[in-house]
C-alpha cells in the first residue's frame, strides 16, 4: 500500500483538519467532530442542508460545503457511515430556525445513522426532512432488497437542494424538488482496479490485468459483470445503455456527468465523454450541461461513471445557480 498518510487510523480526522485549514474563509470544522460547516452557519431563516457519508469519496462530501450547496458535511471513517451523534451536531449547527434537510445515499448504514440523528434532532425540536438518493442502476430495485445504491448523482442533488435552500425555499419545497431530482437521475460506474482502504492495507478486491467490472459500487461493491477490458467507446456504450434503459430520456434535456473514480486520468474521461455525447445526440436527447472530473471517488480506484439527469426548467435553473463550494465546477 502506497499512500501519503501518517497513521492509517487517523486519516479522516487529519483530512477534516486539512479541509478546514484549506478554506478558512469559507468553512470551518465543528470542534471535536468530523463535521465541516459553512463559516456563517446557522444562516437565519434558511433551511440547512446536511449530507455526508463514509470518507474516501473526496471531494464528496466536504468539498461541496459552501454557499449555494451544503451547509454541513459529516465524514465517517473510510467507507463507513458517520455516527448519529456527529450527524446531530451538524444538524444543530446549521439549523437557522426553518429546519434541516438531509441528503442521504442509499446504504443501510447511512440510512440508519442519519435517521437516528434525525430522531434525536426532532426530539430537540428541529424539523428534519430527508431524501435518499438511489441513482445506481447497477443494482436492482425491489422491495425485498436494500434497493439501488446512491452514488455520484448525489452531487447533483446537493447542488439542486443547495440552490433551492439558498433561494429561501421551505423544507417542504426542498423535499419536493429533491424527490423530483432523485426520480430523474441515474448513474452507473465501472472499474479497472480496486481501491485500498488505508486501515485494511490491501486491495478490497482483485481484477486481472485484462479485466474490468461494469456496475461497481463506490466502496468496491461488485458490479453486474466482470469481463475483459473493452475500448472506451464500448465502455461508454455499455454504461450509457444501462442508464438509458432504466429511465425514458427520449426527447428530454439532460445533465451529463462523467465522473472519475480516483486514478483515471481526466484525458480518459473526455474520451468517454466524446462517445456518450454522440450516443445522446443519436437518440435525440439534448444535453443541457456536462460535468467532467472527479466528483465522487473511491480512493485510488481506476474507473469512471456516467450519470444522466433529466431536467426541467426548475432543475436547470437550480443547477446553474452560483455556488461557493470549492469542489463544484
Amino acid at each position: 500500500m502506497k499512500k501519503i498518510i501518517n497513521n492509517a487510523n487517523e486519516v479522516v480526522q487529519e483530512m477534516v483538519e486539512g479541509i478546514a485549514a484549506a478554506y478558512p474563509d469559507a468553512v470551518k470544522q465543528l470542534p471535536e467532530t468530523s463535521v465541516i460547516v459553512r463559516n456563517d452557519v446557522p444562516v437565519k431563516g434558511k433551511v440547512g442542508i446536511v449530507s455526508g457519508g463514509g470518507s474516501g469519496h473526496e471531494p464528496a462530501h466536504a468539498g461541496y460545503v459552501g454557499k449555494g450547496m451544503l451547509d454541513a458535511a459529516v465524514s465517517g471513517e473510510v467507507f463507513t457511515s458517520p455516527t448519529p451523534d456527529q450527524v446531530l451536531e451538524a444538524i444543530k449547527a446549521v439549523d437557522g430556525g426553518n429546519g434541516v434537510f438531509l441528503v442521504i445515499k442509499n446504504y443501510t448504514g447511512d440510512v440508519i445513522n442519519f435517521e437516528m440523528a434525525a430522531e434525536l434532532a426532532e426530539a430537540e425540536g428541529i424539523d428534519v426532512e430527508q431524501v435518499v438518493v438511489n441513482d445506481d442502476v447497477a443494482v436492482e430495485d425491489s422491495s425485498f432488497t436494500t434497493g439501488r445504491r446512491g452514488i455520484v448523482g448525489t452531487v447533483l442533488i446537493h447542488k439542486i437542494v443547495g440552490s433551492m435552500a439558498e433561494k429561501g425555499a421551505t423544507l417542504k419545497e426542498i423535499k419536493a424538488v429533491a424527490d423530483k431530482a432523485v426520480a430523474n437521475v441515474r448513474s452507473i460506474g465501472m472499474a479497472l482496479t480496486s481501491c485500498i482502504v488505508p486501515e485494511a492495507g490491501k486491495p478490497s478486491f482483485e481484477l486481472g490485468e485484462n479485466e474490468m467490472e461494469i456496475g461497481i459500487g463506490i466502496h468496491g461493491e461488485p458490479g453486474i459483470e466482470r469481463e475483459s477490458l473493452k475500448s472506451s467507446n464500448e465502455i461508454a456504450e455499455r454504461l450509457a445503455e444501462k442508464v438509458l434503459r432504466d429511465l425514458d430520456y427520449s426527447g428530454s434535456e439532460v445533465a451529463v456527468m462523467i465522473n472519475g473514480l480516483g486514478a483515471t486520468p481526466e484525458m480518459e474521461l473526455f474520451i468517454v465523454n466524446k462517445k456518450v455525447q454522440q450516443i445522446l445526440k443519436d437518440k435525440d436527447i439534448h444535453v443541457y450541461r456536462t460535468y467532467i472530473g472527479e466528483f465522487m471517488t473511491s480512493l485510488e480506484m481506476a474507473g469512471c461513471s456516467v450519470t444522466l439527469m433529466k431536467l426541467d426548467d426548475e432543475l436547470k435553473a437550480l443547477l446553474d445557480a452560483d455556488t461557493a463550494a470549492p469542489a463544484f465546477r
Binding site: 467507507f79 436494500t146 466502496h219
Partner: protein, 207 residues
Amino acid sequence: MELTVKEIIAWLEISNTNIQENKAYLTELDQAIGDGDHGINMARGFQEVLNKVTDQEYEAISDVLKDTAMTLISKVGGASGPLLGTAFLKMSTAVKGQESLDTADFAAALNEAINGIKQRGKATEEEKTLLDVWSPMADYFSAVDQFSAEVITETAKDAMEKTKDMMATKGRAAYFKEKSIGHLDPGAVTSFYIFSGLAEAVKGGKN
C-alpha cells in the same frame, strides 16, 4: 448461576479480546462480500466500549449495557455500529432494575434487542445478517434454564455457519446477490465472537 454486573463486564472484555484478535479476519470477510471495514469498525467500537466500562464502577447491569450501546452508536458508524448499539440499548431497557439475569431474563432482553435490530435495519431472519445469530440465540435462551458455556458457543457457531449458505438481501452484501452464497456474513461472525465471549464469561474465563 445468574449474570451479574461482573459477568456482563467480563462478557464485554472477552468479546473485545475475540474481536481484536480477529480484526483482520473480519475485515477479510467484509472484503469478500462488503466494503472491507467490518473488522476495523468492530475493533474500534469494542475497544472504546472496553475503555468506557472498565473506567468506572457499575451498580446496575442496565447501566453497563447502556454505556455499551451509546459507545457503539457513537464510535462505530456503518450498518453494524447502530444496529449492535440498538441491540444493547434495548437490552439495557429490558433489564432495568434487575440485579441479575437468569436465562429467561436474558432471552427476554435478547428478544427486545432483536426487535430493535429489525426495526432499524428493516431486515428479518434468513437475510444473511447478524440477526441470523442473534435470533437463534434468543430462541436458545428461551428454551433453557441454565447458562451452559459449551452449548452457548456451539449454538452461536452453528448459527454463524448457517449464514454461509444464505443469500444476502439486506446490507452491502446484498449487492453480491448469488455470489454472497458461500461466504460467512461478517456481522454474524462478530456476533459469534460476542456470544462465545458470553460463554467464556459464564465459565468465569476472565476476572
